[in-house]
Every structure is written in C-alpha cells, then in structure tokens.
C-alpha cells in the first residue's frame, strides 16, 4: 500500500513553537477577543496540517503565516459583522494584550496602551503591531497586508500619533 505524502507532525510542532506566539499576539491585538484568537490559531494550524504544501513556496514563513492569520481574521470579522461592532463598543472591557508588570505605573501604562490600541481602526492597529512588535519593514508589512508601501507608512504614522495623544499624560509621568 502506497501512502500519499503526509504533513509531518514534528514539522507542525516546529511551526507552532516558532510562530504561534507571534500569531497569537497579532490576532489578539487585531481581533481583541481571546476565544476568537484561539479559534483562528486552530484554523491556521488545521489548514497547515491539511495542506502540507502550503508553505512550500513561501520565502519567509513568519510573514506568510501572519498573512494567513490576517486573512482569516478579516474573514471572521466579515462573518460576524454585527458582533464585531458590539466588540468595538466594549473595547474598554477587553483583556490587556500585554503581560502584567510588578510596577503599578507600568501596569497602568500597559492597560492604557492596550485600550488605546483597541480604539484605533483595525487597519492602523495591524500596521502598528507589525512595525512595533514584529520589527517588520514597511515593504514587508505592505506585502503581508496587500497594501502599498505608502499606505502602510501613513497608517503607521496616523496610528502612532493617536497613541501618543492618548497616552501623553501617562507617558510623561513614567518617563
């Protein structure tokens, strides 16, 4: 009996260990819901298991997986259009996307930053996240989000300016 090429289980584990953290952080920041983030992560890894050749032509695994995650998140938002609006209204109650620090000032700053990020439009939030926490260039961000280089740069600038405005008092305090 001949068996067709199967996705290697160890390869799937390696992909999870190398990229799940980045995907989790990006999705949590973008979707702002922990359960949805888990569902999307599950969806991405199930797809990788079903389609072993999915990553074959990818130059950069991380960038390719973030693109998959972004597309899956966009699909989810479209499917749950009304629910998403409800989520956006409840941004204040959403979980913090940063780890809890010992320092109370830092804790307050992180919570405020998380809320300020939630108030950004999703497009700007995605670019800000990829630039600040994935250290990607605007060219890479543009490729992942299927937008132009200039659009990526301007979305970042608008996003950071809004964050600066929102967080100025707290930032001045802890600086």
């Amino acid at each position: 009996m001949d068996i067709q090429a199967m996705p290697d289980e160890s390869d799937l584990q390696r992909l999870y260990d190398e990229h799940a953290q980045a995907l989790f952080a990006f999705l949590l920041n973008f979707i702002r819901d922990e359960n949805d983030t888990r569902d999307l992560l599950q969806e991405i890894f199930s797809r990788l298991a079903r389609e072993p050749g999915l990553l074959r032509g990818a130059r950069d695994e991380r960038a390719f997986l973030i693109r998959l995650a972004h597309n899956a998140a966009i699909d989810l938002i479209r499917r749950r259009g009304t629910r998403q609006k409800y989520h956006e209204q409840l941004a204040e109650e959403e979980p913090c996307i940063f780890t809890a620090p010992d320092n109370t000032d830092e804790a307050a700053f992180r919570e405020s930053l998380s809320r300020a990020l939630a108030r950004l439009p999703a497009d700007q939030r995605a670019v800000v996240h990829l630039k600040l926490w994935e250290n990607l260039t605007f060219e890479q961000i543009a490729e992942i989000l299927a937008i132009s280089h200039n659009t990526a740069a301007s979305r970042y600038r608008y996003g950071v300016d809004k964050l600066r405005e929102d967080l100025r008092p707290l930032y001045e305090e802890i600086k």
Partner: protein, 142 residues
C-alpha cells in the same frame, strides 16, 4: 525611518504569552483534520511482480538454479551460432578429381532421363499486326 523615544517605549512593552495548554489542544485538533491515507490502486506491473514473487518465493534456490541452466543454454547456443559461418568460410574448394567425377555423374543422369523430357510444343504463329480492312482485302483476293 528612525523611531523616537515614545515608539521605542511602546516597543519595549512585552506582549502576552500564548497560553501553554493551547499547544496540545491545537496540535491535536490539527492532527485530527489531516487527510486519511489514500490507497493508490496497484498497477499491472506491481501486481505481476507480486504474483511472481508469491510463486517463486517458496523455492528460491530451485528457481535460481533453473535460471542458471537457461543462461548456460543461451550462452552455448550463441557460442555455436558464432562458430558455424567461420567454419564454412574455411572449407577448401573441391579438388579437380572430385569435379570430374561430379561432371561424369551429371552427364550420366542427363542421358538416363533425357528420353522422358517433354517434347517442345509448337509455338503459336505470330502474324504481324494489320488493319482489319487489309485482312478483308486479302481474303477476298484469295
């Protein structure tokens, strides 16, 4: 593009870690969605090979010995085939005495069977081609 202090401060904020228990759950669920092994129908060649190996497997030495015998037979066959034309080419031409005896024998045979030869049949006469009108004229004149 250089980042200012504020951006660098944002960048230093550590993001939440992915919950540890998710790893097992997600990988297990992903593994369960894998396509089941697909059986490819065996080709004619593989079926033939399988059948042959089933037949030959019980007595491999006997079959190997039979194979060797066949190889030996073929080798001998080709060796003798190669030798025969060479031998024919080396045969010396018949001597003059033999040739004389052969001619005498041929003459005797000719004499013995000479009377039985069928008589030569009269060949049909051939007329030169003439026009019909010409032929009629000759007949009327006769």
């Amino acid at each position: 593009m250089k980042m200012d202090e504020f951006e660098k401060h944002l960048q230093r904020q550590p993001l939440r870690k992915v919950p540890g228990e998710w790893r097992e759950e997600i990988l297990r669920a992903a593994a369960s969605t894998r396509p089941s092994p697909v059986e490819i129908p065996p080709s004619f060649l593989s079926t033939l090979t399988h059948q042959l190996s089933t037949i030959l497997w019980p007595h491999p030495r006997a079959w190997a010995g039979l194979g060797c015998v066949w190889i030996l037979i073929f080798a001998l066959h080709f060796a003798t085939q190669d030798g025969s034309p060479r031998m024919a080419s080396r045969t010396p031409p018949p001597s003059p005495e033999v040739m004389v005896a052969f001619r005498n024998q041929q003459k005797l045979m000719t004499e013995l069977i000479g009377n039985n030869e069928p008589q030569e049949m009269e060949r049909p006469k051939s007329f030169p081609a003439q026009p019909h009108s010409e032929r009629c004229k000759n007949t009327s004149m006769a």
